[in-house]
Symmetry: C2
Subunit: 180 residues, 2 copies
């Protein structure tokens, strides 16, 4: 049985700088109504940068939402009308200083479809050249390099706790294995 | 350089049934202020149910946030004071009718730490017995069974687009390979 939830009413609750929140009143298959709280997000890209030495470049960054310093792959929000591949090149450069000659789209997915439309596009960057990083004004970022086995260990040990980073590492690992 | 963002002000914008939204004004290392929009979420569990035939039970469900029917592993939000393992047993039963004799915690991660504190605990359920499903009033769910290779194909083909499902399948795959 495939069905949709028809929107009977949609109420904008909050319109922020990045996020907005709305409550949709929907009609279910049995004609009853229910409410859905939805966070609208512009979407994001994340990049798995692989050096010629087959190391992954991770960033370390404090995240207010989780109150923790986290290991992540470089990432950023899509600007209005920005193509994901463009955004990937821009964010990689800003956050790590890396220029990538090769930028391949490896997956796109929804971070948490139960409450948000945030879609994350993940790219793999190879043939990278190190330049000058240029983070945004309110970003403070360190970078670390790990090999793919260390990265997998960091997932299994709970050191890497970020969804896009876990998915990006698994996808990159599968590609690297296939091309061996 | 490890630092934290000190909260100078915290403003509650919205307090919903499931989500709430706040804006924190934070102090950066250079003493400048910035704002963080944060969605507070109670956290969730997701379960990779593996049958004795080594098939994964997926659910198919319409998601209002993405306006699409999605393939996902069974999942649900944590109730107040509920332990993740309890919640996993409850949600698995409600959504699929399955009772699991074995429920192992395989990973926990943040779905999107740039804007939300949602933490997802993933379990692997084995030695499952089929009973009667009992979804919540506003949940309409179909189940499908796929073997692990089909599940990996569905990730690579973009048929599975849900973050927790991708992570759950990769983690379960690694465990299944190891125990072979």
């Amino acid at each position: 049985m495939i069905y949709e939830e028809k929107t009977m009413k949609s109420e904008k609750i909050y319109e922020g700088k990045i996020l907005s929140v709305r409550i949709d009143t929907v009609e279910l298959p049995d004609k009853k109504y229910s409410k859905r709280e939805i966070v609208e997000h512009p979407g994001a890209v994340a990049i798995v940068p692989i050096t010629d030495e087959k190391e992954i470049v991770l960033i370390k960054q404090f995240r207010k939402a989780t109150e923790a310093v986290m290991f992540e792959i470089p990432a950023g929000k899509l600007e209005i009308n920005e193509q994901p591949a463009e955004c990937a090149i821009r964010e990689l450069k800003e956050e790590t200083g890396l220029d990538a000659k090769k930028m391949e789209h490896i997956i796109e997915y929804y971070s948490s479809p139960g409450f948000t439309n945030e879609k994350i596009h993940i790219f793999m960057a190879t043939e990278v050249v190190i330049g000058e990083a240029d983070p945004e004004e309110d970003e403070y970022i360190d970078t670390v390099k790990v090999n793919i086995d260390e990265a997998l260990d960091m997932i299994n040990n709970g050191i890497i706790k970020d969804g896009k980073t876990i998915i990006g590492i698994f996808m990159a690992y599968n590609r690297m294995k296939r091309s061996e």
